[in-house]
Amino acid sequence: MVRIPGMNDALELLSEIAAAQSGFVELRYHAKTSRSVGVDKGKVERSQARHRKGVGVRVFENGGWGFASTGSIDGDAIRRAVDAARAGAIASAVRSKHDFMNLPACQLARGVFDQPGLADITARTLEEKIGLATGLEARVRGASSAIRSASCSYNEIFEEKAIVTTDGARAAFRLVRPELRVSAVAEKDGQLSTGNEAVGATGGWDCLFHSATGEALAERAAKVAQDLLSARHADGGRTTVILAPSIVGLLVHEAIGHTVEADFVQAGSVAAGKIGQRVASDLVTLCDSGVSEHYIGAGGTIPVDDEGVIAGRTTIIENGILVSYLHNRESAARYGVEPTGNARAWEYSDQPLIRMRNTYLAPGTQSLEEMIATTKDGYLLDGPRNGQADATGEFMFGVQEAWRIRDGKKTELLRGVTLSGIAFDVLASVDAVSSDFRWDLGAGYCGKGQPAKVDAGGPYIRCRALLGGEQ
C-alpha cells in the first residue's frame, strides 16, 4: 500500500496510474481542510475543523462517461475506482452515446500553480481567529443599545489538488479561501431589523480585508440594522435603479452567468442561439475569469480547472454583443470552440460541472455622484441578500438597502426590497456605468447540485427593473 502524505506524492501516484490506462481517464486528488469559528451573542458556539480527501476518477469510453470516487488513498483503491468509472462509462454508453468518441486535444496545464495567502493564514493561530470573531461580534453589540443580538463567523478553506489526464494534463495547486460574516439584529418597540456584511477572498487576510477592515464591516452591519428600524417599505413597480457592485455581481452571476453555461444553453436557456447578437446596451462588457482581474483576492479564483485546463478570462458579452458561452471540454467539443476552464468540482466525490469563477461587468467612465445627480426619480440598491434566476433570464434578488433618489439626490433609506426583471432586458436598459470596481460576492456560494466558491462584482450601473414593494 502506498500512503500519500500530500499533493506532490499524489501527482506522482496519479501519473503512474494514468500511464497504465487506455482511453481517456482523468484522475483528481482533492484534499480539503476547513476551519470555522462562530460567535453568537457573546459566545463561541462553534469552533471546528473538517478534513476530507480522496480521488475522483472520470472515464470516457465508447462515447459514455463514468465517474467513481474513493476516500481511501492508495494505489489499489484508486485503480478499483478507475475500473468502477470504466464500468459506469460502458453502462452510460449503452443508453446514450455522445456524438464524438474522443475529447478533442486542447492546451492542458502542466506544473504546480500554488496561490498566495497560504503562509499568512497557516501562521495565524486559532486564538487569533477566535479573537477576530469575538472582537467583531462584541463591537456590533456595543454599537448601540438598539442592537439586540449579533453574530460573527470566520471560515477558511484550504484546498490541495492534483489533476492528471491520460491526454496530457499534469497539474497541482494549493489555495486558501477565508470568509468573514457579521450580522446585527436591532429592535425598537417590538420591531426587528437586520444588518449583514460578508467578505470572502482567495488569499490571505490582506485580500480578505482589501475593501474594508473587520471593524468597518461590524460598524456597518450595526448601522444598517439600526437605520432600517425606522425605514418604511418601498413602493412596488418598474423604476430606475442604480445597482451597487454587489448587486451588479448578483445580476451578472445569477441572471446572465447561468444562462450562458453551455449545459444550460444546450437545454434551451434564453442565451441559446444568440452568439453574435446584441443582448445588452453597448456600455456592457461582461466577463468570467479564473484570474482575479483588477485586483487580487477574488473569491472564485482558480489557476486550473478540474479538467486540467488553464482558467483564464472569458469575455461573454463585448460592448453589448454576446460573444461566448462558458465551457468544459465536452461542451467545447460540441460547439467547436476551445474549453474556457469552467469545469469545477466541489469535493473529490463530485464530478466536474460547468461553473462560473469570478464574474464581472467591466467598469465604465462615470462617477457614482454623476449617476445619482442625473437620476430624477429612482433608487440606489446595495447589500445582496440572496438571488435566483430562471432559464428565461427572469431573476429575483433580495436587497438589504434601498435608498430613494429624488431630483438627483440620495434621500431616505427604505426597507429591503426584491429586485426582479428579465436579465437581457435589464442589461439593454443600462445607460450609465461607473469607473469604480469592486469584487463583492466573495463570501458567496453558488449552488448547482453541488456548491462552488465564486465571486462577482463590477462598477455601479444604472438601469430599469421591477421592485417588489407595497401595493
Binding site: D40, K41, R46, S47, Q48, A49, R50, H51, R52, G54, W65, F67, A68, T70, G71, S72, A89, A91, S92, R95, S96, I130, T134, R148, S149, V185, E187, L192, S193, T194, G236, G237, R238, D263, F264, A267, G268, S349, R385, N386, Q388, D390, A391, T392, E394, M396, F397, G398, G416, V417, T418, S420, G421, I422, L466, L467, G468, G469, E470, Q471
Partner: protein, 451 residues
C-alpha cells in the same frame, strides 16, 4: 461497513479522545455506498458510484468544546484528529451549557431498510433513468429535461458517547429527480422540478411515474405566461410553496436557538395563537417507511411524533441538548439535534405534516374573485422579521372564469402576519419527497406587484 463496524469505530475514537485529554466525548460515524445516473440535456450523461466512511468527534474539556470531522481511517491520523479536537477545546472559551445528553430509550423505525435496494447496481439505476426520460417525452415532447438523476444508496450510521449512548441504524434510499422547462417555439416557460423518494424498491417505479406526470403538468402550464396585475388580495400557496416558503420561516422561528438569540418573533408566544385556527402542524420523524424517518437524532436522542401548532396555537419549541440546558427551567431535548456526522449538532425539524382542510383545491378561489396561485416562490424571507418579497414562479392569475399563467409577478408581506390571514386549506395533500405532507393554503391581503 455495517452498524457494528461503525460502533467499533466510534468507541475507538472515544478512547483516543480520552487519551488526548477529553473529559467527555461523543463520536458519530456514517458509511454510505451509492450508485447514481446523471441526466443532462435530456439524455443519460454520467454513471457514478462512490463509497465513503466519515466520522465526527466532539470533545469537552472542562466546559470547553472542540469538534473535528474527517474521512481518514488510518489509526495514526485518527489519533491526530482526536488530539486536534482536544487542542481546540483547550483554546475555545468555556461555556457552562456544553454537555452531552444521558442515554434514552430508542426503538427502531420499521421499513427504512430494504435489502432489494442494496442489490441494485449501475445498470438497473441507469435503466430507471432512461425510462424516466422516455416517460417525460411520451407525456409531452415540449418538456426539456435540463438535468436530473436516479440514485440508489445504502447507508449505516452509529453514535456513541462517554455518557453511555450507543445507537446505530441502517437505511436504504431510492431517489429520482428531474429539472427542466417546457419550450414551444420561442416560448420558454419557467424552470420547474419534481422528485420521488422511497426507502423501498417495490413501488418506486410507480412513484417515478407520478413525479413525471406532476413535472410535465407544471412545466407545460407555464407556457404562454403573460403580464400579471398589481393589486392587494388573496394568494393560494401550492403544496410546493407551502413547503419551501411558509413552513421554513415558521419552523425556523420555533427553533430554540433562534429564541435564545433574540431572533424569533415567537419567543413569548408559547400557548398563544400564532396562526389561523384552521392550521395544525405535526412533526413526525419516525413514520414507518418514511423517506427521512429515523429512530434517533444527531445526539442519539429518540425522535418522536408531536404537535407543533394546534388549531393555530404554538405548542412548543424545538430543542437539542445544548439548547435545553441553556433554556433551563427543566427543558429537555425534543430529539431535534440536526445535522450529519460531519457537523456539530444544530437544531432542526423532522418530517412535517399539515392537517388537511375542508375545501377542495379547485375551490380555494371562488368564481368572480381575483387571486394569485403561487406554484413556487423565488425570493427572500428575513428569518428574523418574517418580511418577504419575491417572485411568483409557475404563477397563475385566477378569477373571473380564467386561470392564466403570469410572469414577473412579485408578492411582498410578512410570513407571521400571513399565518393569521389563512382563510382556507385544501382537502388534498401532497407528499413532498418524505420531508412533509402538505395541502395548498389560501391567505388574504397580500401585496401583489406585476411587471
Amino acid at each position: 461497513m455495517n452498524e457494528q463496524n461503525l460502533l467499533d469505530l466510534c468507541h475507538r475514537l472515544l478512547e483516543l479522545a480520552r487519551k488526548a485529554g477529553a473529559d467527555k466525548a461523543e463520536a458519530a460515524a456514517a458509511w454510505g455506498r451509492n450508485s447514481e445516473t446523471h441526466i443532462e440535456n435530456g439524455a443519460v450523461h454520467t454513471v457514478q458510484s462512490g463509497e465513503e466512511t466519515l466520522y465526527g468527534l466532539r470533545v469537552i474539556v472542562g466546559s470547553s468544546q472542540g469538534f473535528v470531522t474527517a474521512n481518514d481511517l488510518e489509526p495514526s491520523l485518527m489519533a491526530e484528529r482526536a488530539a486536534e479536537a482536544v487542542a481546540q477545546a483547550r483554546v475555545n472559551p468555556a461555556d457552562p451549557f456544553f454537555d452531552l445528553p444521558e442515554p434514552a430509550a430508542i426503538t427502531r423505525v420499521d421499513g427504512i431498510y430494504d435489502a432489494a435496494v442494496e442489490k441494485l447496481g449501475s445498470t438497473e439505476v441507469t435503466t430507471m433513468a432512461a425510462d424516466m426520460l422516455a416517460r417525460i417525452r411520451e407525456l409531452d415532447p415540449r418538456v426539456r429535461v435540463d438535468s436530473g438523476s436516479v440514485s440508489s444508496s445504502v447507508s449505516a450510521r452509529a453514535l456513541a458517547s462517554t455518557t453511555g449512548i450507543s445507537a446505530s441504524e441502517s437505511d436504504s434510499t431510492l431517489d429520482a429527480s428531474t429539472f427542466g422547462m417546457a419550450v414551444d417555439g420561442d416560448d420558454v416557460a419557467s424552470f420547474d422540478y419534481d422528485s420521488a423518494t422511497s426507502r423501498r424498491w417495490l413501488g418506486f417505479n410507480a412513484e417515478i411515474t407520478q413525479a413525471c406526470r406532476r413535472f410535465v403538468e407544471k412545466c407545460v402550464a407555464g407556457l404562454g405566461a403573460g403580464k400579471g396585475e398589481s393589486f392587494r388580495g388573496p394568494i393560494v400557496l401550492s403544496p410546493d410553496a407551502v413547503t419551501e416558503f411558509l413552513l421554513p420561516t415558521l419552523i425556523g422561528a420555533m427553533c430554540a436557538d433562534s429564541v435564545r438569540k433574540g431572533r424569533s418573533p415567537l419567543a413569548s408566544k408559547i400557548s398563544q395563537s400564532v396562526a389561523a385556527k384552521m392550521l395544525t402542524i405535526w412533526e413526525d420523524g419516525r413514520l414507518p417507511g418514511g423517506a427521512n424517518s429515523s429512530a434517533f437524532d444527531r445526539e442519539g436522542m429518540p425522535i418522536v411524533r408531536r404537535p407543533l401548532v394546534s388549531a393555530g396555537v404554538l405548542e412548543g419549541f424545538l430543542f437539542n441538548h445544548y439548547e435545553a440546558v441553556a433554556a433551563g427551567h427543566g427543558a429537555r431535548s425534543t430529539g431535534n439535534a440536526a445535522g450529519g456526522v460531519g457537523s456539530l449538532p444544530m437544531v432542526g425539524h423532522h418530517r412535517l405534516e399539515v392537517d388537511a382542510g375542508q375545501t377542495a383545491m379547485a375551490d380555494l378561489v371562488a368564481s368572480g374573485e381575483r387571486a394569485i396561485w403561487v406554484g413556487r416562490y423565488s425570493g427572500s424571507t428575513n428569518p428574523v422579521t418574517g418580511d418577504f418579497s419575491g417572485v411568483v414562479k409557475n404563477g397563475f392569475l385566477v378569477g373571473s372564469g380564467e386561470r392564466r399563467p403570469v410572469r414577473e409577478v412579485l408578492i411582498a408581506g410578512n410570513v407571521f402576519e400571513l399565518l393569521t390571514k389563512i382563510s382556507a386549506i385544501s382537502r388534498e395533500r401532497q407528499e413532498m419527497s418524505g420531508s412533509a405532507l402538505v395541502p395548498a393554503i389560501r391567505a388574504e391581503d397580500v401585496s401583489i406587484t406585476a411587471g
